[in-house]
Amino acid sequence: MSRNLRYLVLVPLSVAAFYVLFVLPDVDLGWAGGLAVLGGAWLVWYLLWATLQESTAAAGRGESAPPVSPGEQRAWIGLVFTAAIVVHYLLRGSQMVADDGSMAPAASAIGRHIGMLVVGWLVVMQLLRRRQRDTVELDERDRQIEARACGWARVGLSVFVIGLAVTFAFSPLERLAWARPMAVANVLVVGLMASCLLEYLATGLAYWRDRRGA
């Protein structure tokens, strides 16, 4: 199967797998059904990952083709996983808050999903590190790009915190009825994750811009 066709099949399947596993409400499918859904989703993501790796390797062949650096790969992978976590929070975060503002029973399942994404991220990073163990992973240019991206993330986080502080300070109390402990906790986590997202995006774009003009 050609690489383009594989992308055409695997990208929608990956999104669908994410939707089934993380967005749809939990349905008890029994251990066999649950295992099949989980295994199927991870298989689709693995195939997409393998196809991406193949494209990266093909792009790196020859002197003229600018390959994707380890730092850029780390940035795009981080962006995908952080975006998945933020989207998951945005879609299901409200289900974590009970009517009295405390933690709802659904919160533990949602937390488990997020934990699963983080574990998946760590596994992918470990695989990537193993593949690149014989090459230089990080040099002074990578550190410079990371430092700039970190600056963007710091600005984003500062804007978010100031915006939240201003909202709490100047909004009438009746408009802050949503601000219960669990809801505020969710907002803070989303803000933090969004700043990470911004950092990975700025890093990825800096590499991409350099590569495009090479």
């Binding site: 002197e63 650096s69 230089v136 002074e140 240019r141 410079q144 350099d210 090479a214």
Partner: protein, 70 residues
């Protein structure tokens, strides 16, 4: 990263040194091949330490590799 005011002869020196590959130069200097590409494309100005390492890899002086663009 935008263009830098420092010009270099890395590409020319690589070819003069037995058509040294970008990867070989990167390995000799402890940097990634992408950084060599960025340097050759004038998109990155190296630190003084890296400039010396590159010059050392070619066995020439720093001023033979890097020049200030006028």
């Amino acid at each position: 990263m935008s263009g830098t005011p420092i010009d270099n002869s890395i590409r020319k020196l690589r070819f003069e040194h037995g058509e040294m590959t970008q990867q070989a130069l990167a390995d000799a200097c402890g940097i990634t091949r992408q950084t060599v590409i960025a340097l050759e494309g004038g998109k990155y100005a190296p630190s003084l330490e890296l400039a010396f390492r590159i010059a050392h890899a070619f066995g020439v002086g720093v001023e033979d590799v890097f020049r200030w663009k006028r």
